[in-house]
C-alpha cells in the first residue's frame, strides 16, 4: 500500500507489540536523551528513536493493510476496563505521517539547534521532542477517550517547553509559549469535560464502547453537550479559526526544529481526533453532527480560510506568513470534513498529508536560512536565491506546492478538495477555495518575487546555504512534493483507505456517470 512494506521485516512477535512499541520507544528515548552525556548523543538518540518509531509505524500500517483493524490491549488488560489501542487505516496513516516527519525533523534538528539553543540545552530539547512524538503517536493510536486526553497533554507539555526554549534567541517566545499553554489547557479541559459528559451518559471511556452505547440511549442531552465540548476543545488544539490565536506567535518565535515538526503534525493530530469522534464515536449522519458541521464548522472554516489568507498576504514576517497560511489550510481540511461525505474526508486527509509535506519543507528551508540570518523579515530574504540556491530552490518548490501549482502535491490535493466539495453540491465552498487560492497567489508570489527576483541588498544577502544535514531532509521533502504531485499513489492510497476505514468507500462521480 505504501511502498515501504519491505521494512516489515520484524519477527511476528515483535510486530504484534508494535502498537505499544511505537509509543514506548520514543518515550524511553526521551528519558535517555535528557540524560544523554552530550548534544551529539542526544541527537543520535533522537534520530534513532524517531527512525524506530517510523519503522514500527510502517509495520503497523502493513499489518493494518493486511488484517484491517488491530486491537491491542495495553498491558494485557482487555477493553473496556483496560486501555485499548485500536489501530485502523486512519490511525496508521497518521502514525506514518507523524513518525516520518519526526525522522526528518530529528535529522534537521542537529545543525538547526546548534545556532538557536545553547548546546547544554540540546538534550532537553531532544527529550521534549521525543516526548511530544510519543504523545502524538499515542494520541492517534489509542482507542480510549481518556487515554487520548493523556497523550494530548503529554505532547502538549513537550511543545510548551520547547517553544519557551526559543526565548533564548527571541524573547517573544515566552509569551507565545505562555499563551499556547493557556489556550491549550483550555482546549484540553474542554475535551476532558466532554469526555466526562460521555462517561456520565455511557459509563465507559472506550471509544468503540461509547459508539456502541450511544444508539441505545434516547435523547440524552449530556451526549450532545459532551460532543460540543469535545469538538470545541479539539478545534482549539487544531487551530480552527478563530481559536487559532496561539498558533501564529508560537510558530514564528519557537525554535525552527519544533516549528517544522508542529506544522506538519501537531494540529493534524487534533484533526485526527475530530475525524475520529465525528466518524467512529458518533455517527456521521447524526443530525446533531451535520448541523454542527454545516452551521459551525463550515462557516468557521470559510472565515478562517479567507481572513488568515489575507493576513498571510500582508504580513511582513516570513514565518508568520506561513503560520497564517497553516491556519487557512486547516480551514480547507475542516471545510472538506464538514461536507460529511467520505470523499470530503478523503480529500481532507489527502490535503493534510500533502500540507504536512510542504509546510515542513517550507519551515525547514527558513530554518536552514535562519542559521545565518537572525531576522525573519521577508524583505531580508531579498536575493536569497542567489546566495543560497539549493535551499531556496527547495523552498521555491514547496512554495509552489503551497500555491497549488501543477506537478506538485499541493495541486492534486487542491483539485481533490474542490472536487469533493463540488460532489457534495457545495459549489460555493469550491468558490471559497478558489478565492483563497487567488490570495495564495499573492502571498506566495510576494515571497517568490523577494527571494528570486529582488536583487541582493548592498554587501550581499545574509542568507547562506544550509548545511548538508538540513539540505538532505529538505530536498527529500521537496522531491516528495514533486513526486506526490506526479504520482500520488501513496498519499492518496493512505487517505482513501483511511477515509474508507471510517466512512465507507469514496465516490466522486454522480450516479450514472462512468
Amino acid at each position: 500500500m505504501i511502498g515501504l512494506e519491505f521494512l516489515n521485516i520484524a519477527p511476528q512477535r515483535f510486530a504484534e507489540q508494535a502498537p505499544a512499541l511505537v509509543v514506548v520507544g520514543p518515550l524511553i528515548a526521551a528519558c535517555a536523551a535528557v540524560l544523554a552525556p552530550g548534544r551529539r548523543w542526544a541527537w543520535f538518540l533522537c534520530v534513532g528513536a524517531s527512525a524506530f518509531a517510523f519503522w514500527m509505524a510502517v509495520v503497523l500500517a502493513s499489518e493494518v493493510a493486511r488484517q484491517g483493524v488491530i486491537s491491542y490491549a495495553m498491558g494485557g488488560f482487555p477493553a473496556p476496563l483496560g486501555i485499548e489501542f485500536r489501530v485502523d487505516a486512519l490511525s496508521a496513516m497518521f502514525a506514518l505521517l507523524i513518525s516520518g516527519m519526526a525522522v526528518l525533523t530529528a535529522v534537521f534538528s542537529g545543525e538547526s539547534l546548534e545556532t538557536e539553543i545553547m548546546s547544554s540545552k540540546h538534550p532537553l530539547m531532544q527529550g521534549g521532542f521525543l516526548t511530544c512524538l510519543a504523545g502524538l503517536l499515542g494520541l492517534v493510536l489509542t482507542g480510549d477517550a481518556f487515554n487520548a486526553f493523556v497523550f494530548l497533554e503529554i505532547s502538549s507539555i513537550g511543545v510548551y517547553a520547547m517553544i519557551a526554549m526559543g526565548g533564548a534567541r527571541d524573547r517573544r517566545a515566552y509569551p507565545a509559549a505562555f499563551n499556547y499553554l493557556i489556550m491549550g489547557t483550555i482546549g484540553a479541559t474542554f475535551y476532558l469535560i466532554g469526555v466526562g459528559f460521555l462517561y456520565a451518559a455511557t459509563g465507559t471511556l472506550n471509544m468503540a464502547d461509547i459508539a456502541a452505547r450511544i444508539p441505545t440511549l434516547t435523547s440524552d442531552r449530556s451526549i450532545e453537550v459532551g460532543l460540543a465540548f469535545i469538538l470545541i476543545g479539539l478545534a482549539l488544539k487544531a487551530a480552527v479559526f478563530p481559536l487559532h490565536q496561539w498558533l501564529p506567535a508560537a510558530y514564528s518565535h519557537a525554535p525552527s526544529m519544533i516549528v517544522v515538526f508542529l506544522s506538519a503534525t501537531a494540529t493534524k493530530a487534533s484533526v485526527y481526533l475530530i475525524i475520529r469522534y465525528l466518524s467512529t464515536v458518533f455517527a456521521f449522519d447524526w443530525q446533531v453532527e451535520t448541523a454542527f458541521m454545516a452551521f459551525v464548522l463550515a462557516p468557521l472554516s470559510v472565515a478562517g480560510i479567507l481572513i488568515c489568507s489575507m493576513q498571510a498576504a500582508v504580513d511582513p514576517e516570513i514565518r508568520r506568513i506561513l503560520a497564517y497560511s497553516s491556519v487557512a489550510q486547516v480551514g480547507y481540511m475542516t471545510l472538506a470534513i464538514a461536507t460529511a461525505t467520505s470523499a470530503g474526508v478523503s480529500a481532507a486527509l489527502f490535503h493534510l498529508f500533502n500540507h504536512g509535506v510542504m509546510k515542513a519543507a517550507l519551515f525547514m528551508a527558513i530554518g536552514g536560512a535562519a542559521i545565518h540570518l537572525k531576522s525573519q523579515r521577508l524583505s531580508d530574504f531579498a536575493g536569497a536565491a542567489k546566495s543560497a540556491p539549493w535551499t531556496m530552490t527547495a523552498f521555491g518548490i514547496a512554495a509552489l506546492s503551497l500555491l497549488g501549482a501543477p506537478l506538485t502535491a499541493g495541486f492534486l490535493s487542491k483539485l481533490r478538495l474542490i472536487q469533493s466539495l463540488v460532489a457534495a453540491d457545495w459549489g460555493w465552498a469550491a468558490a471559497v477555495i478558489g478565492l483563497s487560492s487567488l490570495i495564495g497567489v499573492f502571498y506566495v508570489g510576494r515571497i517568490f518575487e523577494v527571494v528570486f527576483f529582488r536583487s541582493e541588498p548592498e554587501g550581499g544577502s545574509a542568507v547562506r546555504e544550509a548545511p548538508v544535514s538540513i539540505l538532505l531532509p529538505l530536498w527529500l521533502l521537496a522531491i516528495a512534493n514533486i513526486w506526490f504531485g506526479i504520482d500520488a499513489t501513496i498519499p492518496l492510497g493512505l487517505a482513501e483507505s483511511a477515509a474508507g476505514a471510517v466512512m465507507g468507500a469514496t465516490t466522486l462521480s454522480p450516479a450514472g456517470a462512468p
Binding site: 501549482a405 474542490i418 462521480s509
Partner: protein
C-alpha cells in the same frame, strides 16, 4: 515504443534539453546559442512530424501516468493540437534565431535565464498542444504561466517587476480561482477530463450547469485575454520583443484560446454550447471586445502597445469562433490561430527590428524609415494585410470562415464586429506604414540608426520568413483546413 511516442517525448525533451544546456553552457554564449538553435530546429522538425503523423491518421499517443484517479497525464494529438504544435514549434525555431539577433543587438542582461525560461515555456506549449485531457492541459498551462513570469520581469526594474506581478497575478489567479474549480467540476460531472470527440459533457449537464462551466473555462483561461482579464497583455509588453513576439503574439495567448477551443470542442461539444445561455452572453462580450480593443489600439502611440491591443481583439475572434463551436467555426478559429500567429509575430518582430536598429518605439518617430529598412516594412505590410484579412495573406481565409459561420450560427453581431475591427485595423496599423513608407513632403529626414548597419541580419531574416509564411498561408489555408476538418470526420 512507437514512433508517435518517440515524437511526443522529443517534443517535450528538445526544449527541456535546451533549457538545461543553456545553463550548462552559460559561460560560453556562442555554444549556448548554437545549442538553443539546434534544439529549436529539432523541435520544428518534431512538430512537423507530429502534424504529418496526425494528418496521416495515426495520432501519436503517450500515457505518462495517473497522479490521481480520473486525472491522467497523457498525450494524444488530434488535428487541432497538431496544428498548434506545428505552428508553435515552427515559429519557435524562427524566434530563437530572432531572439539571438535581438538580444545580442540590444545587449540585454541575464541572457541564460532568458533562454532557459523561454525553452521551458516551449515545453509547456508543446505539452498544452499535445494534451489528451483537460487535466494535462491545465498542468502545462500553469507551467507556462510560471515559466514566463521571469521573462516578463526580465529587466528586473520596478516597472517590469510590477508588470510581472500583474501578469502572474491575473494569469495564475484566474486559473486557480476559475479554471481549477471548472476542471474539478468537469471531472465530477463526467468522471474524467478526457477530450472526447463530440464533447465529453454531451448529454450529462443541464444548460445552467454548462453555462457556469463555460464561464469558468473562458474566464479561467485568462491567457485568452478576454475582457475583463485582458490587463496582463498590454502590461506584459515591457518584456523584450522576442518574448512579445513569441509568447504574447503566439504561444501564451494562443495557449489561452487553444484551451478554450479544446474545451468547447471536446469537453462541451457543439450541442452543449448551443444550449447554454452563457454562450450567447459571451458571444456578445467577444463582439464588444473586438471593437473596443481595436478602438483602444488606435489611441496608443507606441507600436507594441498597439499590437498588444490588436492581439486582444484578434483573440476575441478565436474565442468567438470557439463559442459557436460548429465545424466551420472551430476550423476557422483554429485557422485564425495559425494565420494570426504568423501575421502578429511578423509585426512584433518588425517592431523589435526597428527598436534594435533605431531605438524607436513611437510610431510618429518612424517617418521615412521604410526607405531605409525596406525588408522590415514590406514584412510589416504583409503582417498588416494579414491582420486586416486581405489577400494575399492567410488572414483572409480564417476571417472568411469565422464570419460565414457567425452569420450561419445566428451571431451576426460577431461577424459585424469582425468587419468593424478589420476596418479599424486600417487606422491603427495603416499610419505606421504611411508614416514610414510614404512620408509627407516636408517631413524631417528619417531617424538615424542607433546601431551601425541597422538591424542585425539575424533579426531581419526570421521576420522575412514569417512574412512569406503569412503569404504562403493564403495558398495553404485550404489544405490546413481540410486537415482540421478531419477532426469532424471522426464524429
Amino acid at each position: 515504443m512507437t514512433q508517435g511516442e518517440i515524437l511526443i517525448l522529443l517534443a517535450l525533451g528538445a526544449p527541456t534539453l535546451s533549457a538545461v544546456l543553456a545553463y550548462v553552457f552559460h559561460r560560453a554564449p556562442d555554444v549556448r546559442d548554437t545549442v538553443i538553435v539546434v534544439c529549436a530546429i529539432v523541435l520544428a522538425f518534431v512538430g512537423w512530424g507530429l502534424f504529418s503523423q496526425t494528418s496521416a491518421g495515426v495520432p501519436p499517443e503517450l500515457m505518462v501516468g495517473e497522479p490521481a484517479p480520473g486525472f491522467a497525464i497523457a498525450f494524444r494529438l488530434e488535428p487541432l493540437g497538431a496544428l498548434f504544435a506545428a505552428m508553435a514549434s515552427g515559429l519557435w525555431a524562427l524566434t530563437s534565431l530572432y531572439a539571438i539577433g535581438y538580444m545580442r543587438g540590444a545587449q540585454e542582461q541575464n541572457q541564460t535565464r532568458f533562454y532557459a525560461c523561454l525553452s521551458i515555456a516551449m515545453v509547456a506549449v508543446m505539452g498544452v498542444a499535445m494534451a489528451a485531457n483537460l487535466f494535462t492541459l491545465f498542468v502545462f498551462y500553469e507551467v507556462l504561466s510560471l515559466s514566463t513570469y521571469p521573462l516578463v520581469a526580465h529587466k528586473g526594474d520596478e516597472a517590469s517587476r510590477k508588470a510581472g506581478r500583474i501578469y502572474v497575478g491575473i494569469l495564475l489567479g484566474a486559473s486557480v480561482t476559475l479554471l481549477l474549480p471548472g476542471l474539478a467540476a468537469i471531472a465530477y460531472f463526467a468522471g474524467s477530463t478526457d477530450f472526447v470527440d463530440g464533447g465529453l459533457l454531451a448529454g450529462t449537464v443541464s444548460p445552467t450547469v454548462a453555462s457556469i462551466l463555460i464561464l469558468l473555462v473562458v474566464f479561467g483561461a485568462a491567457k485568452g485575454a478576454m475582457f475583463p482579464l485582458h490587463g496582463w497583455l498590454p502590461s506584459a509588453m515591457v518584456a523584450p520583443t522576442p518574448v512579445s513576439a513569441m509568447l504574447h503574439a503566439v504561444a501564451v495567448v494562443k495557449t489561452g484560446v487553444f484551451t478554450i477551443l479544446k474545451a468547447t470542442t471536446y469537453i462541451f461539444g457543439s450541442e452543449v454550447m448551443a444550449s447554454a445561455p452563457a454562450t450567447d452572453w459571451l458571444v456578445w462580450l467577444a463582439s464588444g471586445v473586438i471593437v473596443w480593443a481595436s478602438l483602444v489600439a488606435i489611441t496608443k502611440p507606441e507600436i507594441k502597445a498597439r499590437l498588444a491591443w490588436s492581439t486582444i481583439a484578434q483573440l476575441a475572434y478565436i474565442i468567438g469562433g470557439a463559442l459557436i463551436a460548429v465545424e466551420r467555426a472551430v476550423t476557422g478559429a483554429a485557422l485564425h490561430m495559425l494565420t494570426h500567429g504568423f501575421g502578429k509575430i511578423t509585426l512584433f518582430m518588425c517592431a523589435g527590428a526597428i527598436y534594435v536598429a533605431t531605438g524607436l518605439t513611437r510610431i510618429e518617430d518612424m517617418r521615412g524609415l521604410g526607405r531605409r529598412m525596406p525588408v522590415v516594412f514590406i514584412a510589416f505590410l504583409v503582417g498588416t494585410l494579414s491582420i486586416m484579412g486581405m489577400p494575399p495573406t492567410g488572414g483572409l481565409w480564417s476571417k472568411f470562415m469565422l464570419i460565414g459561420s457567425a452569420f450561419d450560427a445566428g451571431a451576426p453581431q460577431l461577424a459585424w464586429a469582425m468587419v468593424a475591427s478589420s476596418v479599424l485595423a486600417v487606422f491603427y496599423l495603416g499610419p505606421v506604414l504611411l508614416i514610414a513608407m510614404f512620408p509627407a513632403e516636408g517631413a524631417g529626414p528619417p531617424a538615424p540608426f542607433k546601431r551601425a548597419g541597422g538591424a542585425p541580419g539575424l533579426a531581419v531574416a526570421p521576420l522575412a520568413v514569417t512574412a512569406i509564411g503569412a503569404i504562403a498561408l493564403f495558398f495553404l489555408a485550404g489544405p490546413a483546413a481540410e486537415r482540421l476538418q478531419a477532426l469532424w470526420g471522426s464524429l
